[in-house]
Structures are given as C-alpha cells and as structure tokens.
C-alpha cells in the first residue's frame, strides 16, 4: 500500500500528468485521422521518452497507446474509414448511424464504452495478473490456431446479403497476406523475383486502401457516404446516461472477452473487436438491424478493443511478451529505462508497475475529457463539402500509407488494392472479411505449422488439447448455424416469390 501511494504520488506529479496527457493527445490525433495509426505514433513518441524519467516516459507511451486505440473509432464512425484495424468492426454499424445523423451519439457511446473497457481490463489485470499470465502460458501454437479459426468463423456474420460472397472476400484476404517472406522458412513467396514484393502487403496499407479509396471514388459521382451523411443535419447530441446504463451488461461481457483475448500473445485488438461484434449481434433480439446502425454494434467492438489494452499488459509485464507491433514499442520504451518486464518485474520494479497502473487510469480520464470535448468539433467534419473532404482524406491516407514503412511500394499497393476494393463494393461483395482474413491469415498459418513441427506431424496436438477442441467446436457451431440460417432464409424467400 505504501508503495502504491508512493507510486501514485510520482504518477500525479504535474510532469507525469502532462506526459500522459500529451501521449493521449498524440494517440487520439493519430488514431482519429484516417490513414495514420497509433503504431506510427508510438514509434515517434519513443525517442522523446529517452531523456525523461521512467514514470513520465512510460506514461507518455501508455497514453499514446490508449489514445490511439480509442481514437480509431472517430473516422470509422464519421467517414466509414477505420483509424486502426481494431476499429474495422466499428464501421459496420457506426457509419450507418452517422449517415442517419446520429454521429455524435455513436461517438459518445464509443468513448464511454472504450473507457469502461479499458478501466475494466485494468482492474482484471491488477487483481489477477499472475493467474491470467499462468493461463496464457498454456496457450501454445495449437490453442492459438484454434482460437484464430474461431475468430475467422465470424466472417459468416459479416457478410450482409450473401454468405458465399463474404467467404470469397475472406479468402482473398488470406491470400494477400501470404505474399512476401515466409516467416518460418525465410523464403519469398509469390513475389515473382521482386524485392519490393518481398516486404509483403502491409495490413495497415491494405486497410487504408480498402476503405478510403472507394470513399474517394464514390465522392466523384456525388452519391458517396459523405454525401449521404451531409444530407441530414449535423447534431451534437450525446447519448443519455440511461441509454448507456442499459448497455452495461453487454459492456461487461465484451470487456471480459477483450481482456481474455488481449492476454493471449499473438492475437490482439482486431480479433477481439470482431468476436465482440459477432457476439453482440448473435445475442441481440434485433439481429436484422445490425449493419444498419445498431448502437450495440458500436459499443461491443469499442469496449472489447480497449479492454485489449489492459489484457495485453498482462503478458507484456509479467512475461515480457509483446502481443502486437504497438506493444513491442512500449516494451522497447520500458527496456531502455532499465525496466525489464518478466516474472521478476514485480519484485524489482514494483513502484514503476504501480506507476503504470496510475498512468493508465489517468490516460482514460484524459481520453474521456479530450474526446467528449472533441466530439462537438469532430462532427463538423461532415459539414465540409464532399469534394474537399475526399481530396483531404486522400492526402492523409497517402501520408499514412507512406509512413508505415517509408516505402513507395506501399503507395502503389494502396492504389491497386483500393480500386479493386471499389469494384468489390460496387459488386456488393463485403470488404470487411478481407480485413479479417488479412489480420488472421499469418497467425493461422504460422501457428498451424509450428504446432505440426512440435508434434512431428501428428494431428494429436489439436485433438488432445481441450482448449483447442473447444474453440474448433465453437467455430464449427458458428458455421453450421449460419449455413442453416442462410438456407432457411433462401427457402422462405423462394416460397414468398412463388
């Protein structure tokens, strides 16, 4: 307790509070601008922390991470372009809400859900870090593979009209990610001798292309998403407290889900938010309204992806294992200040750990304050004439695509993928499954291959693991339910037509 008070005192020092606030602000800016992501923001923030003391330094990095994760929902809702892969699921219902003129309600609910998810996961982390990290160790390649297959099965629920079209689009996503260096064998695949293709297609670049380029092409016809949203009057009405309270139980479930997924290294925010979205849709009495602007479809993924921030801190701090590229930069920031995460962290650096807890709480207060004030400004983005908005978004996205790896190849990739995505949209093929396939493809392949290497080629490694069997069973259940539902619907339609 005494240690905790000492840490709290250090964390509440004006410098530290300012550092967390600065980090949160940078994160929010990068997260909310389409094209720029918080991974880039963290890479920029890292050198600033070199000269700082350890607590303000870690506070700055954690603030950037948290702000970035929260900010991703802003452009997802307003423009239909996710600010980060973790916000891709938020687009599905958040953007239709904005088109109806309810942007501020969706944004407000997203902020509250994010803060709730983040603080909830922090609490879980504080009380059960040792227990959860011991459970996370049990997740080997076979178990992670099964979990990811379960995540992939949610494609079935993202298809809108035709399940087959959704599956086709998911497979295209899986294929794109096999281009480049094979991580296990170290050989180039499907690169046709090109050095540029050896770097593979970046998930972030593809995401920018998939969502932003169709937006710009449609703007030239005058019937784009932005035009629709502009048609209604922009209001800055906040969601009521009673409305949010009624979603409390949903938020708790999604926060638990996000924390759990985050605790397993090698997964991350995107899979958590898609699973949460699917969960909300499945449990909802109004399934049909999903995809058309159901508030639950915003709250669920936003709660889950911020709960991941607390979840990933568990393996990061107690095992020294970063779950994704963003936490890897946080890890580098801790190391350079002499804090080496792992089982001995809580013995050697208890003060810093408590300081980090305090910094996370503080970051969420900053998020709440900055975002609630910001929403009133953000919604005015919809008042910008569509052609100017489209040109502006294009420039931001090009800067974003470039800044991922400082490579011209990424600019070409964004253009090509974007135009193909536009064609798919025009043919009514859903593009969200492409993102899901791209997020999960490399994990699915690498974990499967590693598992088989461990077992010497025997499938027992999957069949003898209760955890793997559970997730594979859930995935099978989702696919069967969805197929049966689809066939029934078609039979019903034919009856009506006949």
């Amino acid at each position: 307790m005494e240690m905790f008070l000492h840490a709290a005192q250090l964390a509440l020092d004006p410098w530290a509070v300012g550092a967390v606030g600065l980090g949160t602000f940078i994160g929010l800016v990068f997260g909310s601008i389409p094209g720029l992501t918080f991974t880039v923001a963290l890479a920029l923030a890292l050198p600033i922390t070199f000269a700082m003391d350890s607590i303000p330094a870690t506070g700055l990095l954690l603030g950037t991470y948290i702000g970035g994760m929260t900010g991703g929902s802003v452009s997802a809702i307003l423009l239909g372009i996710p600010g980060t892969p973790s916000a891709a699921a938020t687009v599905i219902d958040g953007h239709p809400m904005a088109k109806r003129g309810e942007a501020s309600i969706a944004l407000g609910a997203a902020v509250v859900a994010s803060v709730f998810g983040g603080l909830f996961s922090l609490l879980v982390m504080i009380v059960s870090v040792n227990l959860v990290s011991r459970l996370a160790i049990g997740f080997g390649p076979a178990e992670i593979f099964a979990l990811v297959v379960f995540g992939l099965s949610t494609i079935c629920g993202l298809c809108g009209g035709s399940m087959l079209k959704g599956l086709l689009s998911g497979v295209v996503g899986l294929m794109i990610m096999t281009v480049g260096m094979d991580q296990i064998e170290g050989v180039p695949r499907m690169t046709f001798g090109s050095i540029s293709l050896m770097q593979g297609v970046s998930l972030l670049v593809a995401m920018i292309g998939l969502f932003a380029v169709p937006f710009i092409i449609e703007a030239s016809s005058g019937t784009g998403g932005a035009a629709d949203a502009r048609a209604t009057r922009v209001r800055a009405e906040m969601p009521g407290l009673r409305l949010l309270m009624s979603k409390g139980w949903l938020m708790v479930r999604c926060a638990l889900l996000g924390t759990g997924i985050g605790a397993i290294p090698g997964t991350g925010g995107a899979i958590a938010s898609f699973l949460a979205y699917d969960h909300a849709r499945r449990m909802s009495p109004e399934k049909a309204s999903f995809g058309k602007g159901n508030l639950d479809g915003v709250i669920a993924p936003e709660t889950a992806n911020n709960a991941v921030t607390g979840g990933t801190m568990i393996p990061l701090l107690s095992l020294g294992i970063p779950g994704d590229p963003a936490t890897a930069i946080v890890l580098a920031g801790l190391m350079i200040h002499g804090i080496s995460p792992g089982p001995a962290l809580f013995m050697n650096h208890a003060t810093e750990v408590y300081g980090m807890y305090a910094a996370i709480v503080l970051a969420y207060f900053w998020v709440l304050g900055l975002q609630l004030a910001g929403i009133r400004l953000f919604v005015h983005v919809l008042k910008i004439p569509r052609e100017l908005l489209a040109a502006g978004v294009l420039v931001l996205c090009l800067i974003g695509a470039w800044s991922v790896r400082n490579s011209v190849f990424d600019i070409y990739a964004m253009g090509v993928i974007g135009v193909l995505a536009y064609l798919l949209v025009a043919l009514r093929v859903p593009i969200t499954p492409i993102i899901l396939g791209m997020v999960l493809g490399p994990t699915i392949e690498n974990e499967f291959r590693t598992a088989l290497m461990l077992s010497g080629g025997s499938s027992d490694i999957f069949l003898h693991s209760p955890v793997a069997l559970l997730f594979l069973g859930l995935a099978a259940l989702v696919i069967v339910l969805q197929t049966v539902g689809e066939l029934r619907l078609r039979a019903y339609k034919q009856k009506v037509n006949a």
């Binding site: 890479a43 190391m335 995460p341 792992g342 790896r405």
Partner: protein
C-alpha cells in the same frame, strides 16, 4: 630531366585536381550541410539502438541524423534502397551481419562489397536458455542428457535461416549433438514462454529476453556464444569456458553506398565513435543488453569480410546456401 619531373608532377597535380573536382564534388570540408538519412532495416532492438545512436550522432555532426525505417524482406528492401542512392554520405544504412547472411542465402542483388563500411557500433551476444526444471546448469549437462537418450531436443528458433537458427546450429554442431536436435520456428519474442510451458527444450535468443526469468529462477541460461561474458548476465559463462569452441556475436554498424568519399566516411566514423562513448549511449546499452563496440572503417571492413567467409561456410553446411 628536371623539366620532365616538374612536368610529371604538374600533370599529377592537375589530374588530382580534376579527380577532386569531377569525381567527388560533395566531399567538401563542411560535410554535413544537410540532414543525414539513416535507413533502419529491422524493428525491435535494432530500431531502438538506431534511435539512440542517431540522437547522439546528430549532436556531433551538427545536423540531424534521421532514422528512417525501411523494413521487410530480411533487410533486402532497405539495403537495395541505400545501394541505389547517391554515394555522398547523406544516405547511410544501419546494417548488421544480415548483409552477409541474406547474400549467401541468395535471392538478393547485392553483397557486402556494394557498401563502404563506416564503423562498427555495437555487438550483441546471444544466450542459450533452458527451463530450470531440466536441472541442467552447463552445456555438458545438456550434451550428456541429450546424447544419452533417443529423444530429439526441441530447439526454438525465430525462423529458418535467421540469426538464431545459425547460432544454434553452430553451437550444437560444436557440442557434437547436431543430430539430436529438431528446430522449431515460432514468432519472435516468445522463447521464454515456450520454454516455461515445456513446449520447447532450449532456445537461443537475445539475453534481454531472459534476464527477468533468470532473476526469478524460472529459466537457466547455460552459456553465451561470444568470446567474452556480457555485462547484463555477468554470471553466465561463455561456451568457450565450457570447452565448446564457438565465438559468434552479432555486430551492428553503419555503411554507405560504394563510392562514398573517404573524408566523408571518416567524418561519419568520428561521429559514431564519439556517440558510442557518450554517457547516454552506454546507459542504453546496459539497459537493453548490447555492448558498445566501436571499430573504425578499416577494422570494420576486416570484420565484415571475415564474417562473410564464415557464414558462407556455415550456410553451406546447413544446406541453406545458394
């Protein structure tokens, strides 16, 4: 006679002047007069060290040194980019022995000879860790246990042809247990957990990853693979101390495209040397777990050439050479 010598001398001076004027117009005394771009090939530790280095070097040069990350293809993307830039010292690469390994695995249109070495800056020494439950305290315990059984030792590596793979293969070969080893490739950074869970038996990784686990007693670190012990793990003996003849470390340093003028290289090398001696750089080295290891252009060139021959042989032996 006198006349001819004078004339010869005059021609030589003229020729030298012409070469200076035409060939190396950038090599003015005031290099650098604009920011220097430092291409970084990898994320993780490589990128963190590059950021610390560039800040201290910028102080020395009086112009910013901008680390620009160009990752992918095992370094091929960044090396190819730098190779194609003008050899004027304003575009340099933060390189490592990946220039030797990728060239010998093949598929890249460059080798170390396409670059002018500026300076070696740091050295990292891999460490071999096993779960504490195994009860092994040295390399001999491990060799005895493995050669006495039919079971294969499962050794975690970052990927086939990766540096951890090469070091592991060389170490187990030197220990005489190469035939009893199966390599398992998994994602970066997961080694300690895979060891704790007992899914793999041993792993070679950077010592920073193992430090906390060694403190908590969950893992044993049996050896480091360099000729000298390292500061981060002072109690861990080297492989050579245990009778296994192996000395592999990973160097990182700076290089410029071939044709960069010598005075510019010297200016950059001086800045790198001053940076490696700075308080800030040494502190970062201690915390992250690498050793500052400055070597000037000539010595660095010798190191690279020696390593190139070594990795060519090793990759051939592993069947990974081109």
């Amino acid at each position: 006679m006198k006349m001819r010598t004078a004339m010869g001398g005059g021609i030589a001076v003229l020729a030298a002047a012409a070469v200076l004027a035409a060939g190396v117009p950038q090599a003015r005394a005031e290099f650098p007069e604009k920011p220097v771009e430092m291409t970084v090939l990898f994320g993780g530790t490589a990128s963190t060290i590059a950021q610390v280095l560039s800040e201290t070097m910028a102080g020395e040069l009086g112009e910013p040194v901008v680390p620009v990350s160009r990752t992918g293809g095992g370094g091929a993307v960044g090396y190819s980019h730098v190779m194609a830039t003008a050899p004027d010292g304003y575009s340099i690469v933060w390189n490592s022995n990946s220039v030797n390994t990728t060239a010998h695995i093949g598929r890249v249109p460059y080798s170390y000879e396409d670059f002018v070495p500026i300076a070696r800056v740091s050295e990292e020494t891999p460490a071999l860790a096993v779960s504490a439950e195994k009860g092994w305290t040295g390399l001999q315990d491990m060799a005895r246990a493995v050669s006495g059984s039919d079971d294969h030792l499962k050794v975690g590596i970052s990927g086939k042809g990766s540096f951890t793979h090469l070091v592991s293969a060389a170490l187990f070969d030197a220990m005489g247990i190469a035939d009893n080893v199966t390599f398992i490739a998994y994602g970066d950074g997961k080694a300690p957990v895979e060891l704790l869970a007992g899914r793999i038996d041993a792993a070679i990784q950077w010592p920073g990853q193992f430090k906390s686990y060694l403190d908590s007693g969950d893992l044993n670190v049996l050896a480091v693979t360099g000729a000298k012990r390292i500061d981060l793990l002072p109690d861990v003996p080297t492989a050579q101390e245990q009778g296994v003849d192996i000395d592999i470390t990973m160097w990182r340093g700076l290089a410029a495209p071939k044709g960069t003028p010598a005075p510019v290289v010297a200016r950059l090398a001086a800045a790198a040397e001053a940076a490696t001696q700075s308080e800030e750089f040494r502190k970062a080295a201690g915390n992250i777990g690498f050793m500052p290891a400055y070597a000037g252009p000539e010595e660095f060139a010798a190191v690279i050439a020696r390593d190139d021959a070594f990795y060519a042989g090793l990759l051939d032996k592993l069947g990974l050479g081109k």
